[in-house]
Subunit: 427 residues, 2 copies
């Protein structure tokens, strides 16, 4: 069982870290993998006519809080600390049924805008994982340590159950979530590290998002946040550090030396006015794996990774006062680097890569004119999610605009109505 | 001849400078004006079913260079000075036929993403005006003084002809364009001012976009750019100042004192790495009319004003390190303030306002959940242009997604192919 993507106008892939644009190619997919790229003769595989389309590697949203679409636009005009406090007021009341609605809504939005994988931090990850599996989307997730809301022993138990249930899944990658230094105590951080070692799981954590956080950590522990995590053994190749808007030069050295992974979430940082600067160029120059995330739909308020790629380039250029960060860097962060972070051979269109792919319909007026030399620009700066015509994950077509658009839209509207019934009491 | 927009889920308008959201209303349009808003009984007007939609005021793109879609993605990764130089290399070779293609492509993109009026700076404005009229879009434009490319006497003659041709048009508003202090000499600036007085026309000019510009003006004239313009009588209620990324406190005072108008173009500033800060809050606090523009499609690379509204909020929050600039400010800049800049009673949904309106289809998953309290957030932070279902300008439906989408798309693709034939020689 498989497909031939026949006669793609363009295919974008990575060869030795460089972007390569292929013209008029076919891509064969079998058993979840790309098995051939080039001019492919007739096969027994199902044919998909890709004329007028570009095929690009799957896109990884490296940091989000999927269920939070339920809070989209709920309390938009606050800075982080106040905003989080308000979010938590609602989040204390959430049951799995409401979380399921939020996650399903976000998964619909992600699929329709070309995301093939997401890394999630929230409660009830089993609920979100089940929905991701139902829709065929790849997801890395797990329970979240956040002492302000949850007992850590309970979270540990959930984690063990979650791992037992999903270890070996083709689409679900278990991870350990730790909200932040400020939302857990030292014992919980050490517990997370021990669990990471014992169960061989990656950890993601928000770090150095605000000046206030840096100030408080420095005052309490005498060191900067990344130094503090490092002192506990929590900066390593198994750790994904999110935000990093306020870090020192020597913290960059710690991150690079430990081969830790980092994620930039520019829109959310701007919307919550955390200011600061994610030092993307220094991180890249030091060889650190840089990825991109939308953050949650309550602080973005979109899950469209094309918009996030553009935002990353724009914000970096604004911060550096130069054009050193280019479209290609954002595209790499969202594709190749995203799959490296997941530990999956993907984000590329080559024999042996996992068949996570997106077809872009190039006929939209906003994408004209289109040529080899401006295709990448158009993808990063002009595409929006509605140009996505087909999404393939693990060799399976999980979204076909012609087939699925109206059904998904109607389901999303229905979910929105149910969420409003829940939200009413907090207004 | 007219319409009733029947049973709109929401209508957004302005009452005494405050946003007002109306529920379940009808809007009557006759002879280019809004004639009734509320629960309207049966009429002889054509009915448009607006259930599931929000009707919002028309959106003004207050600064663009319409034909430059022909250069979309052409030379993306340069800072302003180098970028302009490369643009001008191509632009010296442009004839009206190529300009027509670029303008038509941009006008298609603007209409489809909900722009009802645009203010344009380019050559051959008669060509662009004719296309705007053909599509029914409102446009303020006129020949551009730019001594580095054009003889100013020739530009003046073109201006007089342009005014003679379009004075009194219902859709075309003649203006005087002056590229910038650095692209014209003092005589040209004075000539533009005299023409503005003689012909009673507004002027738009790029000012203080880069540090380099400020530095050069200071070195050559001993004063800052706004001071220099003011010394020539070029800061007044007839002057629209674009960019203002690098201005002093006392220049803000000059602008406010003279009641000059200003336009923020955040995406373009960020993409060209001009850095700086457009002091939106101080300008608003001083009572200055603030508007928004995408700038040209070669430096954005989108003409979607919804994206620009979001970008304005995000960049301002990032710069101020607080959330003082909110969705409502961007929405006002793009609607009510845009029409004030044009000198037209629009940007509102009230009896007597010009009937420039946009219908948003609220069924997209990215807009769920939707309620009174988060509708504006969803519009500014989550809508993209493809949520626009209907665009009405001067009481006429110039875009109906169901009726026009495929024809416009196919025309845009055709234009793209013709533009590529032209661009080839510069690659």
């Amino acid at each position: 069982m498989g497909y031939v993507l026949r006669n793609c106008d363009f295919a974008l892939t990575w060869v030795n870290e460089e972007l390569r644009i292929l013209r008029k190619v076919d891509v064969a997919i079998e058993d979840g993998l790309i098995t051939n790229v080039g001019n492919i003769g007739s096969t027994d595989l199902e044919e998909i006519n890709c004329s007028g389309h570009a095929v690009i590697p799957g896109i990884v949203n490296a940091h989000t809080h999927t269920p939070m679409s339920l809070l989209r636009g709920f309390f938009d005009d606050a800075e982080l600390t106040l905003w989080l406090d308000r979010m938590w007021t609602v989040e204390r009341e959430l049951g799995p049924d409401v979380i399921a609605l939020g996650s399903e809504l976000s998964i619909i939005e992600m699929i329709m805008s070309g995301t093939t994988s997401f890394i999630d931090m929230y409660h009830n990850p089993d609920v979100t994982a089940d929905i991701a599996l139902r829709y065929g989307l790849r997801a890395a997730l797990g329970p979240t340590f956040i002492d302000t809301l949850r007992d850590p022993t309970q979270v540990e138990n959930e984690l063990r159950n979650f791992v037992n249930r999903f270890r070996g899944s083709r689409l679900v990658v278990p991870i350990i979530n730790v909200h932040s230094i400020y939302a857990v105590n030292k014992d919980t951080l050490l517990r997370a590290k021990d669990l990471s070692n014992e169960l061989n799981l990656p950890i993601q954590i928000h770090v150095s998002e605000t000046r206030d956080e840096v100030y408080k950590v420095k005052r309490e522990y005498g060191v900067f946040p990344v130094e503090y995590l490092n002192s506990l053994g929590l900066v390593s190749s198994k750790v994904q550090l999110i935000h990093l808007g306020w870090i020192t030069n020597w913290e960059l050295g710690i991150i690079a030396g430990a081969n830790a992974r980092v994620t930039h979430a520019p829109t959310s940082n701007m919307k919550l006015a955390t200011a600061g600067h994610f030092p993307m160029r220094e991180l890249m120059d030091m060889g650190v794996l840089v990825t991109l995330g939308t953050d949650g739909p309550a602080s973005n308020n979109s899950l469209d990774m094309f918009r996030e790629m553009k935002m990353a380039v724009l914000l970096q250029r604004h911060s550096y006062w130069d054009v050193g960060i280019k479209a290609v860097h954002a595209f790499k962060a969202a594709t190749l680097n995203g799959y490296r972070l997941l530990g999956i051979d993907g984000g590329c269109i080559d024999k042996g890569c996992v068949a996570d792919l997106v077809l872009l319909d190039l006929s939209s007026p906003r994408l004209q004119p289109v040529r080899d030399d401006n295709l990448l620009s158009n993808i990063v700066y002009s595409v929006d999610g509605s140009d996505v015509s087909t999404v393939i994950v693990n060799g399976r077509i999980i979204y076909d605009r012609d087939r699925d658009y109206y059904a998904l839209r109607d389901r999303a509207v229905k979910i929105g109505e149910e969420l409003n019934d829940f939200i009413q009491r907090f207004l």
